[in-house]
Amino acid sequence: MNSPVIDITDLSKFYGKVRGIEKVSLEINEGEIFGFIGPNGAGKSTTIRLLFNLIFPTAGSARIMGMDVTRETEKIKSVTGYVPSDASAYPDMYVHEFLNYCARFFRLQNGEKRIAELSHLFDLDLKRKIAGLSMGNRKKVSIVQSILHHPKLLVVDEPTTGLDPLMQEKFFELLRNENRKGMTVFFSSHILSEVQMLCKRVAIIKDGIIAGIEDIETLRNKQLKKVHVGFADQQNEKDINIKGLSDMVWGSGNTLSFIYSGDINELVSFLTNRKILNLTMEEPSLEEIFMHYYK
């Protein structure tokens, strides 16, 4: 069996006494699209910055393709791509100038051709100055620079921020295509739905600690819904006893909100027997999922 593409062992980063991450251990295998999910400030970017040696670990170790992230950084970076969550390309450069500059670091043979292909795919105007680009276009530049050199591993940190739904879909499609060709993807996000859409496995990080590593199928099977029901008349709380219902909160005017993890058909048949004024069903926030699974 091949060694993991990313192998993180007990990795910790403290800022003085403040915990960035603590004892994070992960193994990401070749060819995976691995999700890394957690709320803002949970330690996702800290973990990624450690992988790219932007910051140094307080304890533990991390290896990418068998190479130590603090000692063999140049070799690692020649085969990895990175889409930072909040980075800016040089504002005084033009898009084509920046991408060519990036391509020269990788000594690409067909850099111009690759840049043209990718910018066409993302509808990116190469003649624009970076300073004048919108947030979405800056993100496109960031994405293009990350895959110019056909990396074996792509690390993306909140990659869809600023991208419109059409571009998000193009980006996901690109990730799937590159993944089919063998590229491993480490996908960090706070949006569960996009992680569920792309990834096979997911690690959940909370307050700097890995709260769990799940197969996406397992997560899907225990998929949660947040339900709001407005009843026409007052209900007896004891009568509402269907399986999979939790975190019930009564609001004004006989409104009930709850998290539902059971069979949707059972819920629907339960509600059919009651007179209801309105019904909404939505994806719970990540916090609610954490509260549900990891409280």
Binding site: I55, A89, Y90
Partner: protein, 269 residues
């Protein structure tokens, strides 16, 4: 060293370098254009200067009024300050920002995700600093040399002028190392330009104070300006070995420490 990064950084700083060069050339040529008028009115001017306290003139390197009559004396009393002060400000502003701006402009995450080692980034950016400061000093020296050739009435000592230029260059490199060193100590990514300029001015002020105030004469040893001998019109004017060692030693020490700190620095954007 990475040539791709080197070229980009040189290009990025080119406009600033050209502006600084133009300002220095302008200041030197305008000052030297007064040399003829000065000679024609020397008796009046020297009489007027005789009422200025000697200490006030000493900080400009003038120990004898007659020194000003020679073209090199006039140049060193009036122009050296431009490169010693402005050149040092140029050096420290450039050096304190060259690594740090990647952090506060949020570009470090790109740069350090490309196949480069921190060592390469540091060495390349150091090379950019060395070349930029050298070019500014070269242009200033050529402007000085040319303007003196144009206005001189008698020959002047070119070796003395070159020694003066070497002192200026070494002083600028020391301030460059100071800026680089401080920038690697900064934890929160934000510009330190004002602080850096302030530092040059404080050192300059300390040196001036030590020259004009007897009680503060020892304070001057704290300032890098103390070790730049600007009395180029002295017959025994030469490069002092101890001064040379001071500049080279501290420049190498601070650059070495900056390198060491940068290699282990946590980079935030």
């Amino acid at each position: 060293m990475n040539f791709n990064l080197f070229l980009k950084e040189m290009k990025r700083n080119a406009l600033s370098l050209l502006i600084w060069m133009a300002v220095i050339i302008l200041l030197i040529s305008v000052t030297m254009s007064f040399y003829g008028t000065f000679l024609e009115n020397q008796s009046k001017i020297l009489a007027m200067m005789s009422i200025i306290p000697k200490e006030a003139l000493q900080f400009k390197g003038i120990s004898n009024f007659d020194d000003l009559i020679s073209v090199l004396g006039f140049y060193s009393a009036n122009n050296v300050i431009y490169m010693m002060l402005l050149g040092s400000i140029f050096a420290i502003v450039l050096s304190s920002g060259i690594l740090l701006k990647e952090e506060y402009n949020k570009t470090a995450e790109f740069l350090l995700s490309w196949p480069l080692t921190r060592s390469e980034v540091f060495v390349t950016k150091l090379a950019v600093l060395v070349v930029n400061i050298f070019l500014l000093n070269l242009v200033a020296a050529l402007a000085g040399l040319l303007s003196m050739e144009l206005v001189k009435r008698e020959p002047f000592s070119v070796p003395a002028f070159l020694i003066l230029s070497v002192y200026t260059l070494l002083l600028n490199y020391l301030f460059c190392a100071i800026g680089l060193f401080i920038s690697t100590l900064v934890k929160r990514p934000k510009p330190i330009t004002t602080f850096s300029i302030g530092l040059v001015l404080i050192f300059y002020f300390i040196n001036t104070l030590s020259k004009i105030t007897e009680g503060a004469s020892k304070l001057g040893y704290l300032s890098p300006y103390k070790y730049a001998d600007v009395n180029a019109f002295r017959p025994d004017y030469r490069l002092d070995l101890l001064n040379l060692l001071y500049y080279i030693g501290f420049t190498l020490l601070l650059t070495g420490l900056a390198y060491r700190f940068y290699l282990r620095k946590d980079i935030y954007t």
